[in-house]
Symmetry: C2
Subunit: 390 residues, 2 copies
């Protein structure tokens, strides 16, 4: 049995990055850049007006003849004289001769001439060529997470494809003779199988859209055979159930017989103690507890960071949140507790129903309160650390 921190460290050390692939920028949300990106152009590509107004050569004069127009998209390089101006719009090309744009609100305009009421300083309202970024300059470093703003910036530079780390292919293997698919008839002694659909949803929240679900009966042969082909095809294998010390828990044996290297088994925590973590080649295997709340807890604490690590995220753990505790907590278990909790702007409340089988508490929780194994008590009003969950 190992400590929570040890388990986290072992998983982090073993979740190597995925291979890279070239994907379209418009499909890249949530991926991480695998290489530095350079700008193919100056941005803006030309001197741009920052306002709707008039471009002119700055001088002490206030009156100018209007000799032309530059709309966004135009490129009429009018040769301005010192007493001339052109009508110009936001984003439009500023003719080479002009150095300044006056906003239209600061001008009195006739049909063919303007009088500048408020003279702007020279160079005002002209965005220099390459102001945002110059040609061949670095747009993003490797390791950058692709957000909506990053997609917008890449597109604005005309970049259509980028190298990213692939998303891992994830399989969920469900074990348990007691399990019946929701929608089927529930015979005596059986329960509905809910972990696969829950884990699929949890994977979706971190960008893994397609998960393949397999089901197997509680026997060594079937489990071993199912694992044999799954281990070849997937980067991450989540196994639900069959990993505690019961006589009918074949999963660990089936894994070892498939040459999965055991990296740890059992963690000093509650809930979620009976978990196995191992690897075969680059494939990671998480055998999660069958109890739904334990399974989901260990997903957030262990699986999610591993997926993010494989995808190249630099921040694989969610930022923690600190809140004031509404009521004291004791921990006489000697284990690290993960308590379903709900926090608001200032405080946090530990919810009723912490049993490992109880998923309803999880559904109203927005965080896990972490009570380290060596902490015997948190006092009321003490500041405590939370892991936000979706």
């Amino acid at each position: 049995m190992i400590k929570v921190e040890e388990a986290i460290a072992i998983i982090e050390a073993n979740s190597t990055k995925m291979p890279v692939e070239l994907i379209s920028v418009h499909k890249a949300l949530g991926y991480v850049l695998a290489e530095k990106v350079f700008s193919p152009i100056n941005m803006p590509p030309f001197r741009q007006s920052a306002m709707d107004g008039y471009a002119f050569i700055h001088s002490i004069k206030h009156q100018y003849d209007v000799v032309g127009i530059s709309q966004a998209g135009d490129h009429s390089n009018i040769k301005l004289k010192p007493n001339e101006a052109i009508r110009i719009f936001t984003g439009a090309f500023v003719p080479d001769a002009a150095d300044t744009v006056v906003m239209q609100e600061h001008v009195m305009a006739n049909k063919d001439s303007i009088l500048i009421a408020t003279m702007p300083p020279k160079l005002s309202n002209v965005r220099p060529k390459g102001e945002q970024i110059g040609k061949d300059e670095v747009v993003f470093e490797a390791g950058t997470l692709i957000t909506p703003a990053a997609i917008g910036f890449l597109a604005s530079l005309g970049i259509t494809e980028i190298e990213v780390y692939k998303k891992p292919k994830v399989a969920v293997l469900v074990t348990g003779n007691e399990l019946v698919k929701p929608g089927k008839n529930l015979k005596k002694g059986k329960i509905f199988e809910s972990n696969s659909v829950m884990l699929e949803a949890a994977l979706q929240t971190i960008g893994i859209k397609k998960t393949k679900v397999y089901r197997v009966k509680d026997n060594l042969k079937a489990t071993k055979q199912a694992l044999k082909s799954i281990l070849k095809k997937f980067d991450i294998v989540l196994i639900s159930g069959g990993i505690s010390v019961g006589d009918y828990d074949f999963v660990k044996e089936a894994l070892l017989q498939n040459n999965v290297k055991e990296l740890f088994y059992k963690i000093n925590q509650k809930p979620g103690k009976p978990m196995f973590f191992g690897s075969k080649n680059e494939t990671l295997v998480f055998a999660l507890p069958g109890n739904p709340a334990s399974s989901l807890t260990n997903f957030y604490i262990y699986v999610s960071p591993a997926v993010k690590n494989k995808m190249g995220f630099s921040e694989i753990h969610k930022p923690k949140v600190v809140r004031k505790l509404n009521a004291a907590i004791t921990n006489n278990t000697g284990k690290t507790l993960f308590l379903k909790a709900r926090y608001d702007e200032t405080n946090v409340t530990v919810l009723n129903g912490q049993s490992s089988a109880m998923l309803n508490t999880f559904a109203i929780a927005n965080s896990l309160l972490i009570v380290p194994q060596d902490v015997e008590e948190y006092k009321k009003n003490q500041l405590v650390t939370l892991l936000p969950i979706d």
Copy 2:
């Protein structure tokens, strides 16, 4: 010109909830329940063992004959006598006669009998029928956001379909003669069009997966005609550009001629002032500024809450974050500022490059620092309020 708070209130008041639809639980992540859900079963459906161990009738005796076995999924209702026990596993049916389960670690077991070394209190390790939820009890209230845990809980009750608010259909209409699709050749005076792909990605982060993008030239007739059919087919229309006071901005006129009701035009903020908000029947129209950073700012502040409101979310604004400011800020604009910022566990830094055309700053920001219009200064080390962004 209205205040930011007024704009937010007007949008909230006009974004009515979408119609409801029945969807599969396994596709329901991120939807909001439109009706109360009741449990069709008791959960657990029978008295369940919480441990691997032995079920027996609690007494003062420590020795019991093992007369049978109950695995998860079994339903052998053995008639236990007072000196008998059965082998039992986590999640398995506890025979009616038995009242207590002793965990296997507290037992010395022979082939056919056990000696209980540590006697548990009566009723220990037996999960009562209906402990999590009883038949016909409320599972979730209307308005509940469907999380992975909620999906797991619904599935565990055998529920396969739920009534949710539909997701709005969103169109993006891009205007601007200066715009060229990324990948194409960039002629003089032109820039790459990046707002559509940026807005599509931003919509994805709030669960809107499919967005239809339309493009139109800067003229009244084309804009008016495009809007005519778009307004019939979509619940939310985002228009990019063409909404400032320039002579070539036809969008507002095209909207009014299509009988879109103007709810406001221009907001006292920087960036993002030139925005139009209106409605036609239940369809909402946001004409966003063409400048990328302004467009994305207004997406986070105005569009995202409207989408969430239509989807039935009870919390439509992201929880705000409070941090200590690294350097003083002055606001002599009389406008509300939305500054791209980056916060860590304790502090926040306002980033360089706040111009409305600059998207690169947005790509490294994780929040917008809100400086209200009536605040002229934030001092160094002052606590300030941030809106986290993805």
